[in-house]
């Protein structure tokens, strides 16, 4: 189950040599040049202490990933580090032996290579390591190397404790955990993640903190350790300033934990938040599909039928097919249909880890069945109820209906001697306080949205000074003109100068 918001490369290997910076065709920016530009941006980020530039660099990560290869990377390392730098040597051991270092610049690439005077900043170094890590984690054979590199990088990052490195550090933790997940050794990395999380919280490293919490939750949920995940959530605070993708993941994990613990309303809100904060369906189809699967199940468990239009979305149509069957069964209240759908799609549900949740839906099917019966009949014998709901015996039916009446699912009276249920009518809902509450919830949400957007607005820092300066100048000019007129230097006649 892949909830990575970035689309994973389908072909795991490095891109073929045809797409080298050598190609004189219209390649938007050759990868080495792009890497250089990114490093420059990172430098700017460090000097101006603005995380925006680092985020911009990280945004290019997804499409840069596809262009990476050993040659590109060795060239980048070669260009950006000084000669004989120890860091460079350390990096080269992770790349396969590069084809001769002083390779002729391929024709078409007329850029002169400036000699670099110093090693890039630690942030830049971390960024290059991240690129190498990405490249190595692409293929199966190099995963061991990738893990070694990741561990080394993590140690360096933790030793350095620089806030400007947060965004890159967070990414590196993410890929480290992903490597372990791919090799199925997640349990080993748990102590490391926990320690890193403690450090990140102490150092107020919001990005790393958020990523690490999500990684830990994913780790626990992978092994079905819901109670431990719950404890982690209750004991740690998720930093508010984390980015949207991290928030989306966090809400999704929370939703799953609460769904298992039977707090369906809470789970529903959280999954809804996750859907809203997630990137658009086209960029991250995997996440979209997974969250929607759980969303549908939780909605069914709450007693509402999810919207049919949800299943028609092109991204969701095929993966949600089994869930559509379940929804149909619950909607009609037909227990046999429910059982058959469950049988057919058991493996799929187990793979999605929603199997146990769906098992709980049996009760909902019966509830809906009883409700629809009570709406349709004014009086019905228990034996008929028994056949309609495919229950086991009349006694069963009697007890179940009695419980349903007590829970307020239906309004009615049982008559034991005649063995019938007499259905009453449900009162209309507007006379209760319910519409008011629902309305209130929606208003609350809109107001919160408004406040959050206001807080998130960013004005460029010095723009207002420019305004100020120009208004100052304007006022100066006006004063001069007024002075001029007052002193009689500028006359009305003089204005007609052309």
């Amino acid at each position: 189950m892949d909830v990575d918001t970035k689309p994973k490369p389908t072909a795991a290997g490095p891109t073929p040599d045809a797409e080298k910076p050598a190609a004189p065709k219209a390649e938007p920016t050759p990868p080495t040049v792009e890497i250089k530009q990114n490093l420059a941006l990172i430098d700017r980020a460090v000097t101006t202490l603005e995380p925006r530039f680092t985020h911009r660099v990280l945004r290019t990560l997804s499409h840069l990933k596809k262009k990476l290869s050993d040659e590109v990377l060795s060239k980048a390392v070669e260009e950006n580090y000084t000669k004989d730098s120890p860091a460079k040597a350390a990096l080269f051991q992770y790349l396969s032996a590069p084809t001769s270092m002083d390779v002729d610049l391929p024709n078409g690439d007329a850029e002169p290579q400036h000699a670099v005077t110093s090693d890039p900043l630690p942030e830049g170094d971390a960024y290059i390591r991240l690129l190498i890590l990405l490249h190595l984690s692409g293929t199966k054979e190099t995963t061991e190397k990738a893990m070694a590199l990741a561990h080394e990088t993590v140690e360096r990052i933790q030793a350095l404790n620089r806030r400007t490195m947060d965004a890159v550090a967070a990414k590196i933790y993410f890929y480290l955990a992903r490597l372990y997940e791919v090799t199925d050794r997640l349990a080993e990395i748990r102590p490391l993640l926990l320690a890193a999380h403690r450090t990140a919280t102490l150092r107020r490293d919001a990005d790393s903190q958020a990523t690490l919490i999500n990684l830990l939750l994913r780790n626990y949920l992978h092994y079905n350790l819901y109670s431990q995940a719950d404890k982690l959530v209750s004991k740690s605070t998720f930093p508010d300033s984390a980015g949207n993708p991290q928030w989306a993941r966090y809400q999704y994990y929370l939703g799953r934990i609460h769904a298992v613990q039977l707090s369906y309303t809470q789970a529903h809100t959280e999954l809804l938040q996750a859907i809203r904060r997630a990137p658009a369906a086209k960029t991250a189809p995997g996440f979209w599909q997974t969250v929607h699967k759980f969303f549908i199940v939780v909605e069914l468990l709450m007693g509402d039928i999810p919207d049919r239009a949800l299943f028609r979305q092109p991204v969701l149509r095929k993966p949600l097919e089994p869930y559509l069957q379940i929804v149909r069964a619950v909607r009609i209240g037909d227990l046999s249909h429910f059982q058959s759908a469950l049988q057919t799609y058991t493996t799929q549900f187990q793979h999605d880890k929603s199997y146990t949740l769906i098992l709980r839906l049996r009760h909902n099917v019966i509830k809906t069945g009883i409700r629809s019966i009570s709406l349709a009949y004014s009086r019905i014998s228990l034996r008929d109820i028994c056949t309609k709901l495919s229950l086991d015996s009349e006694e069963d039916a009697e007890y179940i209906v009695g419980k349903a009446i007590r829970d307020g699912v239906v309004e009615g009276i049982l008559d034991h001697q005649k063995g019938v249920m007499v259905c009453g009518r449900k009162g209309d809902v507007y006379s209760t306080a319910e519409p008011g509450e629902v309305f209130g919830r929606r208003i609350g949400f809109c107001l919160e949205l408004h406040n959050e957007s206001v807080k998130a607005m960013r004005f460029p820092l010095n723009a207002h000074r420019k305004d100020l300066a120009s208004s100052e100048a304007a006022r100066e000019r006006e004063k001069n003109i007024a002075k001029g007129i007052a002193e009689g230097e500028i006359d009305d006649d003089d204005e007609m100068d052309f």
Partner: protein, 263 residues
């Protein structure tokens, strides 16, 4: 390496447990001695460098202790033993040979959660079990079915299931469950029936003697009419729905405040 005294005690414990004429007290004392010995040998909280044998011994002792506490109806002790066993089941799962008593114990814990109405914990525990076990193992099936029937409301099935409990210890928990069930059925009947003849009430509530039923009815405040042998349930009148004044005021003030803040 566990001291030989420990191993000897362990062997004795195993022998006593199987002994039909056993005295519960002796087992209790043995367990106490063993626990002290285990703590001294630093085996109670397992560490990675304890040998496999020692881990098996500790696990056995804890399991037997858990069973004993259920037989003696000592629930807090059962709780303690069971939580100590958790590390053995989860973290050392790959190293230790599977224990035949693991699933009965998990099943017992599940039933205990049911009786205490801790449904959230019940489901969380079920999530940790692999699906194959859920389907086949009779020890786990029993509480899972019980929970399902309780949720649906088919109490007669629960009643029948008492006899089918897979092991002795289950019966103890199921009996305490019965009390809760009776209360549940009673409240269902209050809502669902206007009146009920005594004989029918007896069968519905699984009472055998009429006197039991009458005492029960009086506890619940039902109106028993001895001449016609009918129970009448007090029909609650429709409560007047009040306007929730305070909530509306609070909400409106909040809206006004937020709106004013919009520049």
């Amino acid at each position: 390496m566990a001291p030989p005294q420990l191993v000897a005690n362990w062997e004795r414990l195993k022998a006593e447990v199987v002994n039909p004429k056993v005295d519960q007290k002796t087992i209790g004392q043995l367990l106490l001695q063993l626990k002290i010995a285990l703590t001294e040998a630093r085996l109670l909280i397992p560490s990675p460098n304890s040998t496999l044998e020692d881990l098996v011994i500790t696990r056995d002792v804890l399991e037997l202790g858990a069973f004993w506490s259920v037989r003696n109806k000592d629930i807090p002790a059962f709780d303690r033993y069971f939580s100590q066993l958790q590390t053995f089941y989860t973290d050392f799962r790959n190293q230790l040979p599977p224990s035949p008593r693991e699933y009965p114990l998990i099943g017992l814990n599940l039933i205990r959660l049911l009786t205490q109405n801790r449904i959230g914990d019940f489901h969380t525990t079920i999530e940790t079990l692999p699906p194959s076990i859920l389907g086949d193992n009779p020890f786990i099936q029993h509480p899972v079915h019980l929970e399902r029937w309780l949720m649906e409301g088919s109490y007669n099935k629960v009643w029948q299931e008492r006899e089918a409990a897979p092991s002795e210890e289950y019966k103890f928990f199921v009996d305490s469950l019965m009390k809760t069930i009776r209360q549940e059925i009673a409240s269902c009947e209050e809502k669902a029936y206007d009146s009920l003849p005594l004989s029918d009430a007896m069968s519905l509530l699984f009472f055998t003697k009429q006197s039991d039923l009458v005492t029960f009815a009086q506890e619940r405040g039902w109106n028993v009419n001895p001449s016609t042998q009918i129970i009448h349930f007090a029909r609650k009148t429709e409560e007047k729905i009040e306007i929730p004044k305070e909530k509306i005021i609070v909400n409106s003030l909040a809206y006004a405040k937020e709106l004013e803040q919009i520049v």
